[in-house]
Amino acid sequence: MAAEQKKKSDYLVEVKDLKEYFPVKTGLLKTIPLKAVDGVSFNIRPGETLGLVGESGCGKTTVGRTLLRLYEPTGGEFRFDGELVTDRNIFRLRKKMQMVFQDPYSSLDPRMTVEDIIGEPLDVHHLYTTKKDRHDKVMHLMELVGLNAEHATRYAHEFSGGQRQRIGIARALAVNPSFIVCDEPVSALDVSIQAQVINMFEDLQDKLGVAYLFIAHDLLVVHHISDRIAVMYLGRIVEVADADELNSHPLHPYTLSLLSAIPIPDPETARHSHRIILEGDVPSPLHMPTGCPFRTRCRYATEHCAAECPPLTERGNGHMVACWEK
């Protein structure tokens, strides 16, 4: 065991059985746990992009936030570059992992200039010696994300959504991280601006070798940017595979219906495609079905599914699925 720990692993990010329960008051003294994330495991290599998709309430954002300890995890372990992340070392490790938030409007302080927003992580982690050094670093970061140097003295409200997201990314890059959690970074942007930001993410990865956990609900965007994709449903990962493999050979019934539900921007394909329409809504995470969480909406559900939750098992080539029937 000790020898294993010393040996550096291939993975930058190793998450094992991560759990995040939120207590929900149901009565005067009664609380029940809301299992937002219930035993999630995945790995990310250096410079790789793992896409994390799922519907609202499936726990994808909570996974990202728990990794950076914005929430205290209920259980499980997270190793970053071989080092177990704990409360004690998280401050130091946040120099290597950062986050980009979904809403570029509420995630930037309206009272700070762009230079101060981008410079704040440098202040926090004492990453400069002189004021000029700080200024130069901020200028370099702004150039990196395609912002004009003259924008440095402006305030966040003077920018459009796409430019604000660039500021948010520059702030994340300030500490020179090797891993960034991107929480729905393009879903608040207009279609014509989305492509600019997606391209920037890809360029920065080529240039800086940073790894991403790319959380989104838009499967086409995730497919475009990711090397591998993990699909979440009600706090669990139901399928992980190479991005192309997942799109061409999805195995889990949920992934299948998710893929068939995407409106394809192509009239000819849309005319001939057949949507697998799922019945009903996602069950409340407070009253999870027994066994497999998807069984209440699944066409293939059997008694086995109700009795026991299927584990994530390997089906060759790193394609992992959690389903008894497939």
Binding site: E55, V191, S192, I193, Q194, N199, A270, D281
Partner: protein
């Protein structure tokens, strides 16, 4: 726009006449910082029982066009020019009473966010009954309740008998949107306007709602106007599409025209910038620049500051709509140039 060629003008038979025609619509908002020309000369027809898609990004004027039709603009907004013809009658000249009858009875709207569109302090049943008792023959409470249950069954709400006693916050997003649709259909309108009907919903729920709208359209034969920014939704739903930018129509035509034979630089740019099955391994080609500022509109073509192919004339003059093929129109100077080049080429060949 005198050169505007109506699809309807050529149609002789009455049943082919469009149920709704918008002609040269101008809607402005008078704000503290000046006049915002949100809609700037928009014209289109909606055929009976057709699905029309209005696509554009924020600030393109797509929602304001929809609100102008319903006349539910904010206080500072006003239709300043143009006509909205419902079966040949200009509804802009109608009085309040006639307009109230038009809203709901002839034309209904469903909004993006069903939570804010539904009244939180009344039950779903109460809200449905209100529309029914006001506009339809179901005047008594019993009749209206019965009809409300029928409507909820039609839009696929399970256990409608117990649902009508629930409040909007007790329902999920998809269920709320179904209730909105049921309410919109309560008076069997000729036109249903759907303003970003699925933007707030998850993909699997979005698919449910889109299928439902398609089925209902076939069943009831109403015309639907879908306002959205999602090209995927447009492609899978619409017969005809209009693409808007900066308050003007860039291009209009059938779904195939727009997706396979785009003739406006903005449409082309949009199609290049979205991830599709065939460009997964390639870099996306984004549209440069930033979204339009309606307070500082360019003098010429609205898209010109972001257009890679812009010419001198684009800076100063607004392009007129040009016919590309039957039912396919685009407003771009490049088409005019290409046509002139082709014609002069022909002349040279003849000489």
């Amino acid at each position: 726009m005198a050169e505007y060629e109506s699809n309807a003008a050529s149609a002789v038979r009455a049943d082919e006449a469009p149920v709704l025609s918008v002609r040269n619509l101008h809607t402005s908002f008078f704000t503290d910082s000046g006049e915002v020309k949100a809609v700037n000369g928009v014209s289109f027809d909606v055929g009976r029982g057709k699905i029309l898609g209005v696509v554009g990004e924020s600030g393109s004027g797509k929602s304001v066009t929809a609100y102008s039709i319903m006349q539910i603009l904010d206080e500072d907004g006003k239709v300043i020019d143009g006509e909205i013809l419902y079966k040949g009658e200009n509804i802009l000249k109608w009085d309040k009473k006639k307009m109230a009858d038009f809203r709901g009875n002839k034309c209904s709207i469903i909004f993006q966010d069903p939570m804010t569109a539904l009244n939180p302090v009344f039950t779903v049943g109460w809200q449905l009954r209100e529309a029914l008792q006001l506009h339809t023959k179901y005047k008594t409470k019993e009749d209206a309740t019965k009809r409300a249950i029928e409507l909820l069954t039609m839009v696929g709400v399970n256990e409608p008998e117990s649902r009508i006693k629930q409040y909007p916050f007790e329902l999920s997003g998809g269920m709320r949107q179904r209730v909105m649709i049921a309410m919109a259909l309560a008076c069997e309108p000729d036109i249903l306007i759907a303003d970003e009907p699925t933007t707030a919903l998850d993909v699997t729920i979005q698919a449910q709602i889109l299928e439902l709208m398609k089925d209902l359209q076939k069943q009831l034969g109403m015309a639907i106007i879908i306002v959205t920014h999602d090209l995927g939704v447009i492609a899978s739903m619409c017969d005809e599409i209009i693409v808007m930018y900066g308050g003007r129509v860039c291009e209009r035509g059938t779904a195939d025209d727009i997706f396979y034979r785009p003739h406006h630089e903005y449409t082309k740019g949009l199609l290049r910038s979205i991830p599709r099955a065939d460009n997964m391994k390639q870099k996306l080609v984004p549209i440069g620049g930033t979204p339009i500022n309606l307070l500082a509109m360019p003098r010429g073509c609205a898209f010109c500051p972001r257009c890679d192919a812009a010419m001198k004339i684009c800076l100063t003059e607004i392009p007129a709509e040009m016919k590309i093929a039957d039912g396919h129109y685009a407003s771009c100077w490049i088409n005019v140039r290409d046509k002139q080049l082709a014609e002069s080429g022909k002349k040279e060949a003849n000489a």
